[in-house]
């Protein structure tokens, strides 16, 4: 046995598109979508359960229950995917990096695993005991708070590892240097709000899809019957047969409410991303210049423009939804919403204007512009940025906030009546959910490719990985 092990032949991992490229990307992006949904949904279910405790609104109780159920289903798949991720990608393909990371970030990984186990216990206890815990709503709320904290801690610890891979503080293995590496806190804020936004968008997608399905079923069921009726009275009798209209209306009303609740979270949380993302990019510029150059001025710059377009699209779709949803309820004087929508479209177009640079990275390095002045370079920490883009980002934030606020005000005054929605508005919900999902994928591609050819920036490349190909000659 020992002899056989000694005979194993190690060769570098083949760097082809399928193994180290596409396959890794598919697993990683799926993993991110599932994990992000779980974390965001835990926060939203806790908020809704808290609201249900404070005021008698059965929708929040039902919503929290629905989210917990969805989390229990998604968690099983997510956990299997995560295990597959660790075994196949990390151990088989990136074994060297994984061993290195396990040594350098040992404690964050241990705590992350602990948080993961806590989540399993808490989530399935809440899921299985939901009805029994109805008698103790405060206890259920307390368990949901613990679940959210466990989810957040898990993300927190894995973010320490992920950010260390991008900005490893020149390989400093000090624990505090890892936890407070330059992109650690920006990444944590970025994902905390981003995950809630994603959960909101996913919920809005679900609500829109279910609404369309419910109304399509009704149409299909009734259309042949209505066509076959020979009088107006017979048609009316057919219309009221089957599912009592009140139940169907209540179901539609609930889905409408869930949809707008999800959109609000998706839009409001994405508003933070504008400047958290900017701050994140700034730290990459100051501490891992080559990765920043690749993302912003190099090969990935057009992908980054697509990312900014998708960010703008979230606000445009959100604003369109708020505007049309108010219109569907007959709210008058919608000039604020109209103005926000037009402004958001223009600001998005302004933000995605490409900028052409004649320099390449070698020129920048030669001019000492690749390092901040405290590292002996000439890079201004405030930095250069295209001014119109700053104005575009400020406009996105102000107009997005105004649009959401205007909608919430109309809702709180009872001018937006739940249930008075349209099928067309559900398509906007579907588009919003898809946009956020695609945006997360694009972001993942930018981050992982920005670091190339390194796995741990400046320390370890993909070519350093080794695989076992079988007994040697």
């Amino acid at each position: 046995m020992i002899r056989a092990l000694a005979d194993l032949h190690l060769v570098p991992v083949p760097g082809d598109l399928v193994t180290n490229g596409l396959a890794v990307a598919v697993v990683a992006l799926l993993h991110v979508q599932v994990a992000a949904y779980l974390q965001g949904a835990a926060a939203l279910s806790t908020i809704s359960q808290g609201i249900a405790l404070m005021r008698p609104d059965p929708r929040h109780e039902r919503f929290a229950h629905g989210l917990v159920t969805s989390m229990a289903y998604v968690f099983g798949f997510g956990a299997a995917l995560a295990i597959f991720w660790v075994i196949w990608i990390l151990t088989v393909l990136w074994g060297h990096a994984w061993v290195d990371l396990s040594i350098v970030t040992f404690w964050p990984l241990v705590f992350e695993a602990g948080a993961f186990l806590s989540e399993i216990v808490l989530l399935y206890a809440i899921y299985a005991g939901w009805d029994r815990l109805s008698a103790y709503p405060r206890a259920r709320f307390g368990m949901l708070v613990l679940l959210t904290v466990a989810m957040w801690l898990q993300m927190d610890f894995i973010d320490v590892v992920a950010s260390y891979m991008l900005t490893p503080n020149h390989g400093d293995t000090n624990q505090l240097a890892q936890v407070l590496n330059p992109t650690s806190l920006p990444l944590q804020l970025h994902r905390t709000v981003g995950n809630i936004a994603w959960a909101g968008a996913a919920i809005a997608f679900y609500a829109g899809f279910s609404y369309l399905r419910a109304t399509r079923r009704q149409r299909r069921r009734r259309e042949p019957e209505l066509a076959g009726a020979r009088s107006v009275g017979a048609m009316a009798a057919t219309e009221f047969a089957g599912t009592p209209p009140s139940d169907a209306a209540a179901r539609r009303g609930y889905l409408d409410w869930v949809g707008q609740w999800g959109v609000l979270w998706a839009v409001m949380m994405s508003l933070f991303q504008i400047w958290i993302g900017y701050s994140y990019a700034k730290e990459i510029q100051l501490h891992t210049y080559s990765a920043w150059f690749r993302m912003m001025r190099g090969i990935l710059s057009n992908v980054f423009l697509a990312q900014i377009f998708l960010l703008g699209l979230i606000f445009v779709l959100g604003s369109l939804y708020f505007w049309q949803r108010m219109r569907a309820s007959g709210v008058s004087r919608l000039w604020v919403q109209r103005l926000c929508f037009v402004g958001l479209v223009l600001a998005t177009l302004l933000a995605v204007q490409p900028a052409w640079f004649a320099v390449d990275e070698a020129d920048v390095i030669a001019a000492h512009l690749d390092r901040p002045w405290w590292d002996g370079g000439l890079l201004n920490p405030i930095g250069d940025f295209i001014p119109w883009k700053v104005f575009a980002l400020i406009a996105l934030m102000v107009l997005g906030l105004t649009s959401a606020t205007s909608y919430v005000r109309a809702y709180s005054e009872g001018r937006v009546r739940i249930g008075e929605t349209t099928r067309r508005l559900q398509v906007v919900l579907l588009a919003l959910g898809m946009t956020v999902s695609v945006m997360m994928m694009v972001m993942g591609v930018i981050r992982e490719n920005g670091r190339q050819p390194y796995l741990i920036h400046g320390e370890l490349t993909i070519q350093h990985q080794q695989v076992v190909t079988g007994p040697g000659p």
Partner: protein, 397 residues
């Protein structure tokens, strides 16, 4: 001393006679009664302790500041030496300086929470608009005191804070350079800059602050405490009649004119003494104890003596200026710094100060006024997040 006086004051013998003499001339008993037996809303009393805690902390700053003045020398050459002596050779010097520093930190935190509480409970609405405006101005003065105080030690941190902060006005178009020169007493930071900053810290800002505190307290006495919206709910079948009864039974100074009737008088009240005062005292004692412990455990740092020629020292802002510092990171070019500091921050500060004149609705419950609550909480969260992002940058400089 007459029997009537003895009954009023509860004092007998010689002490009673002396008190009666003073009371006859100064009206002390009446003042005490007016101050102590004011009716305050029953619910939400703990949240209301933040205002009195702010006052206690300001007084703590005043007292510890006076002690520091006994040894501090506001001279370019002597400032650091005097503080070094105070820190290492004076038996209680380090502790007093520590209390001044941690008191300032706690004050900024508590005044921020006090404003947040006022914002959430909509206590700034008519007729209390000027309470909010004076409170907002007090908040800015406290921030001004904190930053000017940080410049005085003339260690590296203080010197470079002085350089950076006195440089900020020059971004104002046309008059900026003149303001910088006026503050610095020249083009560069020198002895005059320290003397002027010292004067601003111990005379100009405190004078304005105590004038505003006087006004703030007078307005509080005039309009009474609002409490929270929960104090104004009605329980009878005829709410109008219930509200009218409340207004009739209410003691002055509750306003009964030019305000939405529902919020003219609270449903249940208690006397300020001992109910509210007891809570106020408890919170203030805890805060002062925390400051005391922090001062003994961590003290106040004194960096190396200022070296204007250094090329290696990286100035970093105090934690309460981290959001502003981080905001500058978002601003791309030099000409936009003026826009960021003066237009964006100026607009935000103005909107913050004139909030009662923007939010004119009659609603008081947070969920009934989302048009104010949503942007307010968004910007509060933004400030916290900017501070968190700023911490990363500080650590990795």
């Amino acid at each position: 001393m007459s029997t009537v006086d003895s009954e009023r004051t509860g004092l007998r013998g010689r002490a009673g006679e002396v008190y009666g003499w003073i009371d006859e001339r100064a009206g002390t008993t009446e003042l005490l009664h007016k101050g102590l037996y004011e009716a305050v809303p029953r619910k939400g009393g703990w949240a209301y302790t933040l205002g009195s805690a702010t006052l206690v902390l300001i007084l703590l700053q005043l007292f510890t500041g006076i002690f520091l003045l006994l040894e501090y020398v506001p001279s370019f050459q002597q400032a650091w030496i005097s503080l070094d002596f105070l820190q290492h050779s004076d038996r209680f010097g380090a502790a007093v300086r520590g209390m001044h520093l941690w008191g300032a930190y706690t004050l900024i935190l508590i005044i921020g929470l006090h404003m947040m509480r006022t914002f959430l409970s909509a206590s700034y609405k008519r007729p209390r608009e000027l309470n909010w405006v004076s409170g907002a101005l007090l908040f800015f003065l406290v921030l001004g005191l904190a930053v000017t105080g940080a410049m005085l030690p003339m260690d590296n941190a203080g010197y470079w804070t002085l350089v950076v902060v006195t440089n900020i006005p020059h971004y104002i178009p046309f008059i900026g350079t003149g303001i910088r020169t006026l503050w610095r007493g020249g083009d560069f930071v020198g002895p005059i800059a320290l003397t002027r900053t010292f004067a601003i810290h111990i005379w100009v800002l405190p004078f304005l602050m105590f004038a505003l505190i006087g006004g703030h307290l007078a307005l509080l006495r005039r309009h009474g405490e609002f409490g929270a919206w929960v104090n104004y709910s009605t329980s009878s079948d005829d709410p109008e009649r219930e509200i009218t009864g409340r207004i009739r039974a209410a003691e002055p100074p509750y306003p009964t004119k030019r305000i939405e009737r529902r919020y003219a008088a609270p449903r249940e009240t208690v006397n300020f003494f001992p109910f509210q005062l007891g809570k106020d005292v408890m919170v203030s004692i805890v805060l002062v104890a925390v400051i005391f412990v922090m001062a003994f455990l961590f003290g106040a740092p004194l960096d190396e003596r200022a070296d204007p020629s250094t090329l290696t020292y990286t100035p970093t802002p105090e934690w309460f200026y981290l959001p502003l510092d981080q905001l500058l990171v978002f601003i791309p070019t030099t000409w936009l710094i003026g826009f960021g500091i003066f237009v964006l921050m100026g607009a935000a500060a103005t909107l913050f100060t004139i909030l009662p004149f923007i939010d004119r609705s009659t609603h008081r419950r947070p969920l009934e006024r989302p048009e104010v609550l949503l942007p307010g909480l968004f910007f509060a969260a933004m400030i916290v997040m900017l501070a968190v992002l700023g911490i990363t940058r500080l650590y990795n400089l």
